[in-house]
């Protein structure tokens, strides 16, 4: 069960700077089950975007964005709204964002950072994985995670180790993550993205604050003291919960 936090507004707005129309996707699953805070406010996201002069072509939430069949059947209903948009902004964990990216031919952008996933990759029956890095890069990589798909977790790529058939020289059965990113961006006519240098990763964000490693979900374990529940709708303190503990 995972914990996400909303990316800062300026980072979200920078990522959609060149888009005028967006489709929003949110997830209720882990948010409802274990206080993940990132996915709870699609209306607020819509207000943010509209305030910046963007049009929201449509939006929907689903209980678990990591449920492949559910996601695809629900997305299909919104095909006109999705295809009308320049990109899809997804407020959920890294797995959910990659699930959406794998299901639509549109730039898929993360609205959240995934802080902690607690060992669960939801119910997505495919290979997408999230490393809970706390600094989601999926916006830059066509919705394919380079941290979990590149054997070196390179934030810029590919390295010289891609084989002729797009595999990784570390394991010839494994797809080169950066070759997949290249192919996906090429399909979306967005190769310019690869010419940009992604700055070094903020590994300081990897270490989740202890408070968020425990959730309501685990709190049922009698060996653990009960977690302090955040009051419903409690705001995340400025800069997120890191190092400051959960809001009391």
């Amino acid at each position: 069960m995972l914990v996400t936090e909303r990316k800062p507004d300026d980072e979200i707005l920078a990522s959609v700077a060149r888009d005028s129309k967006l489709f929003l996707v949110g997830c209720n699953g882990c948010h409802a089950a274990c206080e993940s805070r990132g996915a709870e406010d699609l209306p607020a996201l819509k207000t943010l975007l509209e305030g910046a002069g963007k049009t929201v072509t449509g939006w929907f939430t689903v209980d678990f964005l990591c449920d492949k069949s559910l996601v695809r059947s629900r997305l299909r209903v919104f095909t006109p709204e999705i295809m009308d948009a320049d990109s899809v902004l997804v407020a959920t964990c890294g797995v959910g964002i990659q699930c959406v990216a794998d299901s639509v031919v549109k730039r898929t952008r993360p609205a959240c950072n995934t802080i902690n996933i607690g060992g669960s990759h939801g119910t997505w029956g495919s290979t997408e994985r999230c490393a809970e890095c706390g600094d989601c890069l999926l916006d830059r990589t066509g919705g394919i995670c380079p941290i979990t798909n590149c054997s070196k977790s390179m934030v810029n790529g590919p390295c010289g180790g891609t084989t002729g058939d797009g595999k990784c020289e570390v394991d010839r059965k494994r797809d080169c993550g950066w070759y997949r990113i290249y192919t996906r961006l090429k399909d979306m006519n967005a190769l310019d993205q690869l010419r940009e240098v992604t700055p070094p990763k903020k590994y300081g964000k990897y270490l989740p604050p202890y408070e968020v490693m425990r959730s309501e979900h685990w709190a049922v374990d009698p060996a653990l003291p009960a977690a302090d529940p955040a009051p419903p709708g409690a705001a995340v303190p400025a800069g997120g919960p890191r190092g400051k503990g959960r809001p009391k």
Partner: protein, 293 residues
């Protein structure tokens, strides 16, 4: 000031060489290899734990070359050091007289002889180039001011024979944006393929030194085709190495192929980077035969 930078600015055809430090403390052979290159090449690359096989350090070897009046290119990979150690070693390298640094991501640990070691890859090649740029500007990666700044001449690598080549070219553009001032390429054997590559990148305005790896045997050529990404040894060259084993063993075939390749790429790029893999004693005659002395 980097002599390599000066040579590339003069627009002549530039030759660089390469040595690999030993596995152990007997550094003499590597230094002998470097002596073969004295006066023949502008600068000598020193590999950094090449192929992820643990060995003597690049930084110390580069320093020994500086002491001997030879110009090193300090190869630096991101596999073994985080950004603290990379920056610290860059500062040390500069004070020890090292002016050129080649920024590489590095082969993955599992391909080397310590597969259970922890891969670092805190940065990758583009991040390391940005790191060098930051230090040159007088600040570290955290933005803190330096007391004395290193004026490095930074380069990077590209694989012209990779298929498809487009991601390589995009990555090359990215590395230029990050601060790469020159490129040394992965081994090239197919001159026509290299010409097509150069046609696509010549507009980028950054000098390219074509990689020349001496072919020691047909077996080595086949091994490279099967195991080294971005290398393509044409069958006709493999057949040639197999046809006369004594000639291959003596190094004569390697020299011939290198001379043909260098002559083929002379008008296409700004120089060559010869990687003799221990056959450095053959480099002087290669340079003589292509008329570059």
């Amino acid at each position: 000031m980097s002599k390599l930078s000066e040579a590339l600015e003069r627009k002549g055809f530039v030759v660089t060489g390469e040595i690999g430090p030993p596995k152990g403390t007997n550094i003499e052979k590597a230094l002998e290899d470097a002596e073969h290159l004295r006066g023949k090449v502008v600068a000598i690359n020193v590999t950094d734990i090449q192929s992820a096989v643990m060995r003597f350090g690049s930084l110390a070897t580069c320093h020994m070359l500086v002491d001997r009046g030879l110009e090193p290119v300090f190869q630096m990979v991101c596999r073994d050091r985080n950004r603290l150690a990379l920056q610290s070693d860059l500062l040390s390298a500069y004070v020890l007289g090292i002016r050129n640094v080649l920024c590489l991501t590095g082969d993955h640990n599992v391909l080397g002889d310590h597969p259970d070691s922890k891969p670092v890859f805190d940065l990758e090649a583009a991040g390391l180039l940005q790191c060098v740029e930051a230090l040159r500007s007088g600040r570290d990666m955290a933005g803190k001011e330096l007391d004395g700044k290193p004026d490095f001449f930074a380069g990077a690598v590209v694989a012209p024979a990779a298929e498809p080549v487009e991601p390589q070219i995009i990555r090359m553009e990215q590395k230029i944006k990050a601060g790469a001032k020159f490129f040394q390429t992965q081994a090239v054997y197919d001159v026509d393929q290299f010409a097509r590559f150069m046609k696509r990148v010549s507009g980028l305005g950054v000098p390219v030194l074509c990689g020349i790896v001496l072919l020691k045997s047909a077996g080595m050529a086949k091994f490279m085709n099967n195991n080294v990404s971005g290398v393509n040894v044409p069958k006709r060259l493999i057949d040639r190495l197999a046809a006369d084993k004594d000639k291959a063993k003596s190094g004569e075939t390697a020299v011939e192929i290198a001379v043909e390749t260098i002559n083929g790429v002379k008008g296409l790029c700004q120089g060559v980077h010869i990687m003799p893999l221990g056959w450095d004693h053959l480099v002087p005659q290669i340079i003589e035969r292509v008329g570059l002395t």
